[in-house]
Amino acid sequence: MPFIEFLFKPKNELEKGGRQSVQVASADENEPSKPCPNCRKMVPLSQLWANHNTCECGYHFRMNARQRINFICDADTFSEWDAGVTSRDILDFPGYMTKLENTRNACGESEAVVCGRAKIDGEDCCIFVMEPYFMMGSMGTVVGEKITRTFERAIELGLPVVGYTVSGGARMQEGILSLMQMAKTSGAVKRHSEAGLFYLTVITDPTTGGVTASFAMDGDVILAEPGALIGFAGPRVIEQTTRRKLPAGFQKAEFVLEHGFVDAIVPRSTQKATIAQLLKMHAGGERVG
């Protein structure tokens, strides 16, 4: 299987973008392609790459952290911090070490977030990008520590932070310490905010649980990608608890926007320009008054 196809291979129902089985139109025999869960057309991979992993119908396919960094940062400006840091099995949790090792090998990342410094259309910033293919971006102690350090370095450098979130929530294999990362990261965000610095979050599909209930919702400006699932409890859990069918579009970015919890939905086609403009608008030295 080519690497790129492996990356796009859905690992569960959520990733397929729906629970119904997808009926796809006949594929172009000449070029590798993948089905769009929204319009059900086969999208040639070349077309997918040219459009930042989006279908012409507007559907946003999942992106891994490196793809996002390449997509959003100016060429050769990203320098990574705390690369290669790996989690330990603090609680001696059954199967966790094996799971970590397999995930590292399959995903190619050492943990579920990539952090560093970069330029976006010339604007200096610190950036963290969560990795959906590393245990669904779950937050354990390494993720918490790396994000906290990103904010601490941003304070030292006097820089804004751009954060891309994608997460299934707390990493249960790290128990209560994973929960504590919500407090830790929130504290770091607060200090960064009190230093008068700008924090922009881009919420991507899906962002739930402890990440939604901490730094994803703490941004000065909160953007979301079209169609992204954003919530605290996951839809399946809500359905089971309430025994009610969920309304159409429930917890999708458009629904969350309508209810007032994100500032704007920005498709990838205009995402870099929007982020750059917001960074420029918050750059120091040009305040009036």
Binding site: A170, M172, G175, L177, A213, D218, F232, I238
Partner: protein, 270 residues
């Protein structure tokens, strides 16, 4: 009721959830005098899953915020079984900011299987409400003590537990996920909850060893006058010490407390 012979983690989960165990309101009635309940989040509604107000602790005004499960079936329904909605967290935050303004210490009594999981809760921003509570509690310029008296379920519990001191009752549990939830996700089998409870390290002893809490409150006299009396004295003493500290220093130390939880080996780099 609870004996010191509890050995398995899941037995503690059962005890923490047991009906008849003192709830938040019991603590308020027995430790606080002249309690006046204050309702509403000033935005949407009053969430009875969280009871908040002002009262006296040893003659000194304090703000008390309790997640209340209810003591009988009628109360349990009224308090939504201690599962708060966003407006509950927003009420809690309002009362905390009010306490900060008037220099009152804050006591939080935490007892919830988790924030309510439902359509309305999501529509009104459960995640955002919890996030804001956590962030603002971290920076609150007044002393705070949170006591986990029963279940400490995930973010819905942490939202009221970002305090200067966090204590746990001997048979309380504190976890990122319920043992049943953990078992059904990991092993597709909710009946393996006892195994999951063991693995999650969710007991007070575990939390103490991991540095997540400062102290364990023994339960030998749980619910008796002597139990509340000791807790009242303990709270008073703690607030005297915390109150002597400069507010900025207090906030700094609170941040450091949580900052240092679960720091992995970062390869010697800072």
């Amino acid at each position: 009721m609870a004996k010191n012979t509890v050995s398995k983690a899941y037995d503690r989960v059962r005890l923490a959830r047991q009906n008849g165990r003192p709830t938040g309101v019991d603590y308020i009635e027995n430790i606080i005098t002249g309690f006046i309940e204050l309702h509403g989040d000033r935005n949407y509604a009053d969430d009875e899953a969280i009871v908040g107000g002002i009262g006296y602790l040893d003659g000194r005004p304090v703000t008390v915020i309790a997640i209340e499960k209810g003591r009988n079936s009628k109360e349990r329904v009224a308090h939504n079984f201690g599962a708060p909605h966003p407006e509950g967290y927003r009420k809690a935050l309002r009362l905390m900011k009010q306490a900060e303004k008037f220099g009152r210490p804050v006591i939080c009594l935490v007892d919830t299987s988790g924030a309510y999981c439902g359509i309305g809760a999501e529509e009104r921003g459960q995640g955002q409400a919890i996030a804001q509570c956590i962030m603002e509690m971290m920076a609150l310029k007044t002393p705070s003590v949170s006591i986990l008296i029963g279940e400490g379920g995930s973010g819905g519990a942490l939202a009221l537990a970002v305090a200067d001191r966090v204590w746990m009752l001997e048979n309380a549990v504190y976890s990122a996920i319920s043992p049943e939830g953990c078992a059904s996700i990991l092993w597709k089998d909710a009946s393996k909850a006892d195994e999951a409870a063991e693995s999650l390290k969710l007991t007070a002893t575990d939390a103490l060893a991991l540095g997540v809490i400062e102290e364990i409150i023994p339960e030998q006299e749980l619910g008796k006058e002597s139990f509340y009396e000791k807790l009242r004295v303990k709270l008073s003493r703690e607030f005297r010490e915390l109150g002597a500290m400069d507010a900025n220093e207090l906030v700094r130390q609170r941040f450091e407390r949580f900052r240092n939880l679960g720091v992995p080996d970062m390869g010697g780099k800072k």
